[in-house]
Amino acid sequence: MPQDAETERESLFEAPPMAEQERMVEAILFATSEPISARELDARLPHGCDAAEALVHLRRRYEGRGVSLARIGDGYALRTAPDLGYLMQRETVEIRKLSRAAIETLAIIAYHQPVTRAEIEEIRGVSVSRGTVDQLLEMEWIRFGRRKMTPGRPVTFVVTDTFLGHFGLETARDLPGLRELRAAGLLDSRLPPMSMPGAKSEDDEDELPLKDGDQSELFEE
């Protein structure tokens, strides 16, 4: 069939049949990197072809298909059907471990709730970044509690039922205390140097260590 078309063209200089012209236009539109006008198509097709007519046939052929013939200005291009655009997106869900800063902040909220940001900072010895709190809020593991009746009436944080559900706890009071943690061997005595006071871990980048004064106050407690 294609060979026939070619020999026909060459011997008689007659235009190939319309079906053949249509597949030629289809191939050119598929392979070009930019929309192409009917005039340009005519220039690329064998002598005597009628790109405009072939385009009409092609448009009809692709009606309702996953691909459609789009007109863009003077040019034509094959495009995936607009209703299938969602297939061109891939959503990947990535599960990541919470950063050390987030875990520590979360732990302090769970053990000390309701707790203010200043109190969290006091305990951790570093300032708590807004991003960490926002992340925990967004995960719905913490929420705002009542304002504290101290000067400035700071907001407090408490853990949520989602938090309790995730960690399989009935109440936050069920969390083991320090002594129990130690007895259970959960207090790792060989801490990596990262956790030494003053040393920052990567995820703590936006956290500024508190001044020495603040820190020593804590040790005196």
């Binding site: 997106q89 959503e91 599960i95 471990k97 130690r182 005595s189 801490l191 030494m196 006071p197």
Partner: protein
């Protein structure tokens, strides 16, 4: 030599062909390629080729090249030597004492190699004659990129939580502990130190000479350094890098490099 050429039928054409080959010797991809080209002059199926004739042609070619003082790469000469050997094997009656493959086996393998090389060239040509991407058929010209949206969910375990809490609450406890370590000279440190030093231990030396600086006076530090240095020297002795000796119980332990 020239007489031989003249006597043979079709000699002129053959000689011209041979000379053309010599001039073009750089164009050959090794002796096998040359043999394959020579074998074409026999104008028979490669399976029916006369290896004896081919060996003669090749040796004549090499001889002619030497007369013309053309430098032939070593592998052409290795092949020439081997073909001369093969020729003698094929011509002389087989020696029952002789070990190794027979002349016929060697000839058969050479014929196989030539046929295989020719076959690979034929299919290579067929492969390259196929329709090729970017020349005869084409990919999509306007690829639409798939946008990847990445959704990250974070997780943590109860253990993470408790350890995290413990970490924040006990941070102060680790400070004196960190100071403790200053009095400890670990086995790793001792090994590192001794590996660097034993190169110079040609003579018997008291092991106490290997104690690190600053560990000799404070009893606690001295104890730690002595223990780890002794353990490290045992390790090095096990590796066969040093020798140890001690004249009697509680006498100084001495070491020296081995070998």
């Amino acid at each position: 030599m020239a007489d031989d050429w003249a006597e043979a039928p079709g000699a002129v054409a053959e000689r011209l062909a041979a000379e053309a080959l010599i001039v073009d010797v750089d164009g050959f991809e090794g002796p096998l390629d040359l043999l394959l080209t020579l074998s074409r002059t026999q104008k028979v199926d490669l399976r029916k080729i006369s290896i004896l004739n081919l060996a003669r042609q090749y040796l004549e070619f090499v001889e002619k090249a030497r007369q013309l003082r053309l430098e032939l790469a070593a592998d052409y000469l290795v092949m020439a030597a081997w073909l001369a050997f093969l020729k003698s094997r094929l011509l002389l009656p087989p020696d029952p004492e002789e070990e190794g493959p027979s002349g016929e086996e060697m000839a058969a393998h050479l014929a196989f190699q030539l046929e295989r090389l020719q076959a690979m060239r034929d299919v290579a040509a067929r492969l390259m004659a196929r329709d090729q991407l970017g020349r005869d058929f084409f990919v999509r010209g306007q690829p639409e990129t798939v946008t990847r949206t990445r959704k990250v969910t974070y997780t943590a375990t109860l253990l993470d939580l408790m350890q995290g809490y413990a970490r924040t609450r006990t941070r102060d406890e680790f400070r004196p502990y960190a100071m403790d370590r200053e009095a400890i000279f670990s086995l790793e440190q001792a090994l590192d130190r001794m590996r660097g030093l034993i190169g110079f231990a040609g003579e018997w030396t008291d092991i106490s000479a290997y104690l690190p600086e600053g560990f000799g006076t404070d009893p606690a530090r001295r104890r730690s350094a002595a223990a780890s240095t002794f353990a490290a020297s045992l390790e090095l002795a096990k590796e066969g890098r040093i020798e140890l000796r001690q004249s009697e119980a509680f006498a100084p332990i001495e070491l020296r490099r081995r070998g």
